[in-house]
């Protein structure tokens, strides 16, 4: 069931409609057929009833006609010359008998009896058993001068009946009855055939009492059946009112028949019940033909209507929908210039209108976005350009500021070292102060320049492979020892060898470590500073733990913000407040991280994690001419 439903859902709209129409017409035809048949049956019954009434009248007339014919035939025979004389005489000559027989043969009469005036048989075709005797009512009627006609049973064979007529033999004057002539013919199948003119569609049978005394030559069995099945109807007919069936009866060939039982009279006397079976094959055929014709007409109509409907749906639904689909597909392919050609203001047309409006909106939006994107691109290019300018500026500033300062430091060193001539202790000490101040200034300049680069995104790493970290550690340790010279702070080293070779900026890695260590030295008055270096998976981990005053959790954010110093930091003096932010940026530029753990009065630990070999870092020399440009992390 589900599969059928799925099939139906997938069908095109036109096909759906066709299917539904076909189903509808099918139902229509079925109901029409049913109605038609039942009405037709009624019609057939009515028609057949009318037909039968007509037939009954006609058969009745023919019976009478046969009777009348018989009477006139008998009278014709009775007028044979010499016959009345013979009846008067009471004897008949052989020649007259022969002539009589000849005459009888000419009028095809049989069952002849001629009685004389005394009731003696002069001639009889039936031999010793004449058809009637003198005590018969018909005889007496004729003897009284009245011709009569009726059906009589055969004298010797019970089931054979005759239509018989008696006529008086009149003398020459025509007034005196001198004898009786009787004649008849058997009621046999040929009589019945003649009666119904051998029609194929009507079968008749004559019923007398309980017996079927005569039938036409077709289908006598059914007429017998009628006798058995319809005694009441027959009785009713015998009583004088004809009975016509109100329903059709099936016969052996499965064509329905109409049945009637009607009383017959001949010559005013009861002549039995005529059973009529009327085959309404023709009517059935007519029904069949009409039905076929009607069905054919409906079928053709259906075809025409369906074809028209299909074409209409195709034109008004399928094609417009396809048009919508085509345009929608073009939209999704990126072509927003297409529009739906809206032909009708119906629902499909409205969808088309909506699509068009949507496309208009999208186009407008895209135009707007294009403009904005162009502007954004412009802004970006502008920013990039200014970045370049800034970088160049910073680079030249770096050189311009450092060169004279280096000269200051170096020349002062030369003098302090006695290169220019001997200097006394006081002079040397003073010059050392100058050198220290110069170095401090140099550090400040370096920090400020670094910070500028980071904040403008121009910081570039000089990336090398295979950096040996050991000499960097040695350098840091040496420097730290100098810084700790006057303090009761122990320097401890915790290096987990072997250390990996790194990819990174050697100078900057050194810078980070120096920064952490010098901070620790600055803030730790007593206790210890522990430098730990080890490898953890793909990272180099460096940590500097001190026993200094620690940093309150609230202040820990400030540590990494440029130019901010904690209260403690300001008290300790020195520093620019830039060291930590720069170190963090440098660590992150390497793809690593720098963080701090500390509590007030519990000392601090600064951690650095640097990837040993980051794919994001590209060695400055030998691979690409451009070192990595690192975006500032604020």
């Amino acid at each position: 069931m589900n599969r059928l439903k799925a099939l139906f859902d997938r069908a095109t709209v036109a096909n759906k409609f066709i299917l539904l129409t076909i189903i509808m017409f099918g139902l229509l035809i079925v109901s029409f057929t049913w109605l038609f048949n039942s009405r037709f049956d009624d019609l057939v019954v009515i028609v057949s009833q009318q037909q039968l009434e007509g037939e009954i009248d006609s058969f009745q007339q023919r019976f009478e006609v046969e009777g009348a014919l018989l009477v006139s035939g008998a009278q014709f025979l009775a007028a044979l010359p010499g016959l009345p004389e013979a009846a008067t005489d009471g004897t008949i000559s052989a020649e007259l008998t022969a002539a009589f027989r000849e005459q009888a043969a000419a009028v095809a009469l049989d069952h002849l009896e001629v009685f004389d005036a005394n009731g003696n048989l002069l001639i009889s075709t039936e031999g010793e058993t004449p058809s009637i005797t003198t005590d018969n009512a018909m005889y007496r009627a004729a003897a009284a001068g009245q011709p009569s006609v009726a059906l009589i049973a055969h004298a010797s064979e019970r089931n054979e009946w005759l239509m018989y007529s008696t006529v008086p033999l009149l003398d020459a004057s025509g007034t005196q009855v001198v004898g009786v002539l009787g004649a008849g013919y058997p009621l046999d199948s040929s009589f019945m055939d003649e009666l119904d003119a051998s029609r194929e569609d009507i079968h008749i049978g004559l019923i007398m009492g309980d017996d079927l005394i005569a039938t036409d030559s077709s289908e006598p069995e059914e007429l017998e059946e009628g006798l058995e099945q319809n005694p009441a109807e027959i009785a009713q007919a015998a009583a004088g009112s004809a009975w016509i069936s109100s329903a059709l009866v099936d016969d052996e060939s499965n064509t329905p028949d109409a049945v009637a039982y009607a009383p017959m009279t001949v010559g005013g006397t009861y002549a039995g019940v005529l059973q009529i079976r009327y085959e309404i094959d023709q009517l059935s055929n007519l029904q069949g033909q009409s039905f076929s014709r009607y069905t054919g007409v409906i079928g053709i109509l259906q075809l025409i209507i369906i074809s028209i409907a299909y074409l209409v749906i195709r034109a008004r639904v399928t094609y417009p929908l396809q048009g919508l689909e085509k345009v929608a597909k073009q939209f999704s392919a990126g072509d927003l210039t297409q529009r739906v050609a809206v032909a009708n203001p119906d629902e499909i047309g409205q969808v088309g209108e909506a699509l068009n409006t949507m496309a208009d909106q999208l186009q407008a939006t895209f135009k707007r976005l294009e403009v904005e994107a162009t502007e954004a691109n412009e802004a970006r290019r502008h920013a990039e350009q200014s970045d370049v300018v800034k970088s160049a500026f910073l680079a030249s500033m770096s050189h311009e500021l450092r060169t004279p300062l280096n000269a200051v430091i170096n020349f002062t060193k030369f003098v302090a070292n006695g290169v220019m001539g001997p200097v006394n202790e006081q002079q040397e000490e003073t010059l050392r102060e100058v050198i220290d101040s110069g170095k401090h200034l140099l550090n400040l300049i370096n920090d400020v320049l670094d910070m500028s680069k980071i904040q403008s995104g121009s910081l570039k790493l000089f990336v090398e492979d295979n950096i040996n970290v050991e000499p960097l550690i040695e350098s840091v340790v040496a420097t730290t020892k100098v810084l700790l010279a006057d303090k009761p702070v122990k320097l401890e080293l915790d290096v987990n060898r072997p250390l990996p070779r790194m990819r990174g900026d050697r100078q900057r890695i050194l810078q980070i470590m120096l920064n952490l260590m010098s901070n620790a030295c600055k803030f730790t008055e007593e206790g210890s500073i522990v430098l730990s270096v080890s490898q953890h998976g793909g990272e180099l981990h460096i940590s500097v733990r001190d026993t200094g005053p620690g940093i309150a959790i609230a202040d820990q954010m400030l540590v990494f913000e440029p130019f901010k110093r904690t209260a403690t930091g300001i008290r300790q003096g020195g520093g620019t407040g830039l060291g930590m932010p720069i170190s963090r940026s440098l660590a992150e530029a390497h793809g690593g991280r720098l963080w701090l753990e500390s509590e007030l009065d519990k000392g601090s630990v600064f951690y650095v994690a640097l990837p040993i070999h980051s794919e994001a870092l590209i060695p400055t020399l030998g691979m690409t001419p451009v070192a990595l440009l690192v975006k500032a992390v604020q």
Binding site: T403, N406, K413, F414, V419, F462
Partner: protein, 147 residues
């Protein structure tokens, strides 16, 4: 940092002949004081510019063991000087060191491609100079760009 003692360099290396081509007077002075007076190298030759470079170079006796050139100098830039030096068969093995204040890494790559043996940032780092020089004389390539 107190590191102003002489680095341990063997005596005969103090005879190393060093040529420095620099147009900035102060830088020349610093170099001279540092290398000759402070570090003790006896043979330090200073050129103020690169005019007649080849002639003046070939006229030097003894011939320099190492040549430091300022890149941005006239009339011939450091690159041109390098080319000239390399065209002299006598100077094929002499290390030529570029000194530059410009730290654009595009330029560093240019220097390397041009064939300089080493490159140092200006101003020269006094503390490491002796070590650096020793390494350069041993044939090592030093690329110390301090930004």
């Amino acid at each position: 940092m107190s590191d102003d003692t002489l680095s341990p360099i063997s005596a005969n290396s103090l005879q190393t002949v060093i040529l420095y081509v620099e147009d900035d007077a102060r830088s020349r002075k610093v170099f001279d004081v540092m290398v000759r007076m402070s570090l003790g190298y006896q043979n330090v030759i200073l050129f103020e510019d690169s005019a007649d470079f080849v002639a003046r170079l070939q006229a030097l006796t003894p011939q320099p063991d190492v040549i430091f050139v300022d890149i941005h100098i006239k009339p011939h830039t450091g690159f041109e000087m390098l080319t000239m030096i390399r065209q002299l068969p006598a100077f094929n093995h002499v290390p030529v060191v570029a000194l530059t204040a410009s730290v654009m890494n595009e330029e560093v790559e240019r220097l390397r491609m041009a064939g300089f043996n080493s490159c140092l940032a200006k101003p020269v780092d006094l503390d490491n100079f002796a070590e650096t020089l020793a390494l350069i004389l041993q044939g090592e390539s030093i690329w110390r760009i301090i930004d």
